[in-house]
Amino acid sequence: MEKEPASKVELAPGVGGGGEIPTFDITLKVRRYNPEVSDEAHWDEWQLTMYGTDRVLDALHKVKWEHDGSVSFRRSCAHGVCGSDAMRINGRNRLACKTLLKDLDTSKPILVEPIKGLPVEKDLIVDMEPFFQSYREIMPFLVSKGHEPTKERLQSAEERDRYDDTTKCILCAACTSSCPVFWTDGQYFGPAAIVNAHRFIFDSRDDAGDMRLEILNDKEGVWRCRTTFNCSEACPRGIQVTKAISEVKQAILTRKV
């Protein structure tokens, strides 16, 4: 039973913080590419004054809105849930809207490039089609045989927990495009597709696990994974991607989930 909180409490001094937000200067370098202008990519850089609460996305917006409107990147929700703005920031795949500038080394230029392994369309925008193609191939939907219950299917909290981690995926491609195998072999399904297969394989309500395991047992499937952990490090949702892939490998070997 929850206890009723007190009507009045003593607050610690300075609670909540706020007030004057510190500013600092950064150098932002962005990898530019626009085939309408040139076949060659190049770097552009800007000196910007930013606030302590600003993220890399704010710096990109400052450039686009105040300096050069042609700098192109995708973004929407701006707080790490829509998955539009995965990019390479100082060599690591991250979401621009979740990366606070103050957490980066601002004494050096901040380097921003498109994610790797997918064709670049313009500046930080890549062609996402191959990524979604792999996703679609693993049957990313619940398949259940037999009669539909009139009410909900039952699932215990433990069964629900079994695949909780992999339901968090926002399809941003940070994991897949951080994978060295994916860079060299564009046919490889990649971590994100396997994560989404995991989400269904380990769902007690699903009846197509075997088919998905068969798909991932393919030569471009899970066995290409060399367990470099790049994907787990890259995931902005904190999904334990490598663990999920190992569980799928294990399930293929034992045919047990």
Partner: protein, 592 residues
């Protein structure tokens, strides 16, 4: 220019659009046009839950839910629509479960439910557990599940296609010897982001599901891309917009940022405190306190700050206190939002209260529809073949204030209805001839933005618009603030004719599209402000300090805003009214 032909075209791939597509796609040739990849839609940001009187954890029924919805909306809700929604809620949740949605479960393995603001047992007696949820990422799970099912049913998506115009023709119809002019849908015009080419889609049915317009405000929980395009397109084509003065400010946005902390936090037991550590909601809503509806909580917070009891060095926010909750409970039920507090404010919710302030959240108003999701071109004339559902629409189930968890419900119930109705209509109707030169207006719009060299910056005009809306058309309004806002919007509109778009290319020209989106924002800000000026009373999300009481005698009506250049007093927006539909409930004073 390319021309495509489909039975049904759906504009938008958020929850409403994809729910419609799943129905329509199995019955008629359907295309979904969306300016974002489907899974980027803002439905994915929804956190707290979707309500339905499943009665899985305690006694509940759809009639109580209907009542709460009507009362929550301060009696401006169309009661037939609220009843449909509350009844079909149960099936809507079960549909999602069958599609695979991983709801949190009770110990018995049923769908778990939790409390949410304004949802009560037996007409207001006590909070009830009605919200079905998946941790605090319910919207994410709904969006993913619907997308998965679209993949399953091979729904055809045109991703990163911006719809910029609606094609309609006037037809003469004769009924009972009377001839009148009726609008009919012919299709839409869209802009392909990748190539910069225009594509015309001819369709028998068009469903608008393009979401909200939160970006008229500076402090908002809404995505950068929520710029009211669908509402703007309809308005420019002569469709009225209903109840646009009602915009919901969600109480708990992260202070200074607007990023949302779901009401689920309070549903799970968190409370609000002022600078004196006082749980001030005990004074404003003695019965349900922190779980009062959002308009009441947001105003109470703003009032605490106004009266000098705000926290922090500038006394400009209040505190959301979770410190009395078990960390394990917080991790299980609220992992994402506590992570937001850590990431963006550096505050540890286990041990410190989180700075919060109201954030612009949800448009109650929109394109008027009836309960079949058919769009109305005045108080009762249906536009054959035109449908709307979700935040872009106004059926009206939310009246003057939406209850939490009723929008994820709305998009599912009315998204499904729109998809079914659009497909059914398309199976019997004929295509309407596309008008000659269908892209003329759109080309003019784009060329104006591309070729103007006045030097005004889109971002600056947008910022000034957002600033004035935050300052003058927020939680508290007066005639003076609204008149001033309209004046500023007029000058911004004038400057908008002199903008310069720097990117002159065709590929992925988001610079150009931001300019187009700003045009919609300006139009919608104008409509919202003019409607707010027109409503000289206080009701739900609309609070006029110069008219602080609800005035049922004069204002128990929906407002209908029409584009009309002759209405010069109100910046080209003409306001009319539309009766509210009553079935069971007579207006009462709204106390919690």
């Amino acid at each position: 220019m390319q021309v495509h032909k489909y039975d049904v075209v759906i504009v938008g791939a958020g929850g409403a659009g994809m729910r419609a597509a799943i129905e329509s796609g199995q019955r008629a040739r359907t295309a979904v046009l969306t300016k974002l990849y489907p899974t980027r839609s803002h439905t994915g940001a929804a956190q707290g839950g979707m309500c339905a009187a499943l009665a899985n954890v305690e006694e509940d029924n759809w009639e109580w839910h209907t009542f709460d919805t009507v009362k929550g909306g301060d009696y401006l809700v169309d009661q037939d629509a609220a009843e449909v929604m509350a009844k079909e809620a149960i099936e809507a949740v079960l549909d999602l479960e069958k599609m695979g949605l991983p709801f949190n479960r009770t110990p018995e393995g049923r769908i778990d439910q939790r409390r949410f603001g304004g949802h009560t047992r037996d007409h207001g007696k006590a909070p009830v557990r009605r919200s079905c949820y998946a941790a605090d990422r319910t919207g994410h799970m709904i969006l993913q599940t619907l997308y998965q099912n679209c993949v399953k049913h091979n729904v055809e998506f045109y991703n990163e296609y911006y719809v910029l115009d609606l094609l309609m023709v006037d037809q003469e119809v004769t009924e009972d010897g009377v001839t009148r002019i009726q609008k009919r849908v012919a299709g839409v015009v869209s802009y392909d982001l990748a190539s910069g080419e225009l594509h015309v889609f001819q369709a028998k049915s068009v469903v608008f599901a393009s979401g909200g317009v939160g970006k008229v405000y500076k402090t908002t929980s809404n995505a950068h891309t929520l710029t009211g395009d669908g509402m703007g397109i309809a308005f420019r084509r002569g469709i009225p917009l209903e109840d646009m003065e009602f915009f919901q400010f969600h109480p708990t946005g992260l202070a200074g940022l607007g990023i949302l902390l779901s009401e689920a936090a309070r549903g799970e037991g968190a409370i609000l405190r002022n600078s004196e550590g006082e749980r001030f909601m005990e004074r404003y809503a003695p019965t349900i306190k922190d779980l009062a509806p959002r308009d009441i909580v947001a105003r109470s917070m703003a009032n605490e700050v106004r009266e000098g009891r705000g926290a922090g060095p500038n006394k400009d926010y209040v505190l959301l206190d979770l410190t009395h909750l078990e960390p394990a409970h917080i991790d299980a039920k609220l992992p994402d939002i506590t992570e937001f507090a850590r990431t963006y404010l550096g505050v540890e919710p286990y041990t410190e209260p989180v700075p919060v302030f109201p954030t612009a959240h949800y448009a109650m108003g929109g394109i008027p529809t009836n309960i079949k999701a058919e769009v109305l071109s005045d108080n009762d004339t249906v536009v054959p073949g035109l449908y709307a559902a979700g935040e872009v629409a106004c059926v009206s189930v939310h009246g003057s204030n939406r209850l939490g968890t009723n929008s994820l419900l709305d998009i599912n119930v009315f998204g499904k209805r729109a998809g079914l109705a659009a497909a059914e209509y398309a199976l019997t109707a004929d295509f309407v001839e596309i008008p000659e030169n269908p892209t003329t207006e759109t080309e003019e719009l784009l060329n104006r933005a591309r070729s103007s060299e006045g030097g005004e910056r889109v971002a600056l005009i947008r910022k000034e618009l957002q600033d004035i809306m935050d300052a003058n058309v927020q939680v508290f309004r007066t005639e003076q603030t609204l008149v001033e806002a309209l004046r500023v919007i007029d000058t911004l509109e004038e400057r908008y004719t002199r903008i310069t778009v720097q990117d002159k290319g065709k590929r992925f020209n988001l610079d150009l599209l931001e300019a187009v989106e700003l045009g919609f924002l300006l139009d919608m800000a104008k409509v919202m402000t003019a409607a707010a000026l027109h409503r000289k009373e206080s009701r739900g999300g609309h609070f006029r300090e110069d008219y602080p009481e609800r005035d049922d005698e004069n204002f128990m009506t929906h407002s209908m805003a029409y584009k009309d250049p002759r209405a010069t007093e109100t910046s080209g927006v003409r306001l009319e009214t539309k009766p509210v539909i009553f079935t069971r409930y007579q207006p009462m004073e709204r106390k919690y």
